[in-house]
Amino acid sequence: MVHLSAEEKEAVLGLWGKVNVDEVGGEALGRLLVVYPWTQRFFESFGDLSSADAVIGNPKVKAHGKKVLQSFSDGLKHLDNLKGTFAKLSELHCDQLHVDPENFRLLGNVIVVVLARHFGKDFNPDVQAAFQKVVAGVANALAHKYH
């Protein structure tokens, strides 16, 4: 469960309302694959990931990034029950995809960096702090069903 004050919740949802979820998703996933290249191990079927430009331009990366961020977006509607909201996805990532949960934390931080890039001044320290709580909560929820 994520403990956000009323102001933090308002800040998060307010900013999120202005996010182009499709674009930010593709950018965040692309940056994850470029900055932390070992994460590419989960995307071998995606084709050309040979350079930063190839990754960022890759249509499968963009599509999957969109999917990931839409899921994240759903999570924001259920901040008081992230574990329940992400239970099925947690099982999927453990049992079928075998993703190291550390990657959820890495992606969370990449999303924060992308938001800073897009929102500049509006992404002040307090807004960042609220988002760090959210990404940590989502990462924990996704790791929750691991066994």
């Binding site: 940056r31 890039r117 897009h118 320290p125």
Partner: protein, 142 residues
């Protein structure tokens, strides 16, 4: 372990662009670290940590000087940062995980101020540079 040539070039180019303003960004990075990761404040109980604090600004300048030193001595970070390593491990006894948190907040700060320059490639180079700095400050590095 040394940083690859392309990463060094990218970091040096950015540092040139930041010019004399590195302290502004490291100070903001510290403010972000204290806000987002409150446990980091335990190392600074002797400072006024309110936003705009002159003491945080002064510490930001120290961090800036250290990073600029690191940029100038990329081929031998362990030696360049040996005094700082000793300070942080023997005297201050900072858990190295905190350097990662500050590093992340520095990336956030640079992304916020230089959105057009902050390409995925630059982000990767900076992340590697900061990892090298963190390693050079850690107790295991001799």
């Amino acid at each position: 372990m040394v940083l690859a040539a392309a990463d060094r070039a990218a970091v040096r180019a950015l540092w040139k662009k930041l010019d004399g303003n590195v302290g502004v960004y490291t100070t903001e990075a510290l403010e972000r670290t204290f806000a987002a990761f409150p446990s980091t404040k335990i190392y600074f109980l002797h400072l006024d940590l309110n936003p705009g604090s002159a003491q945080v600004k002064a510490h930001g300048r120290k961090v800036a000087d250290a990073l600029t030193l690191a940029v100038d001595r990329l081929d031998d970070l362990p030696s360049a940062l040996s005094a700082l390593r000793e300070l942080h491990t023997q005297r201050l006894r900072v858990d190295p995980v905190n350097f990662k948190l500050l590093g992340h907040c520095l990336l956030v700060t640079l992304a916020r101020h230089y959105p057009g320059d902050f390409s995925p490639g630059l982000q990767a180079s900076l992340d590697k540079f900061l990892s090298h700095v963190t390693s050079a400050l850690a107790p295991q590095c001799r």
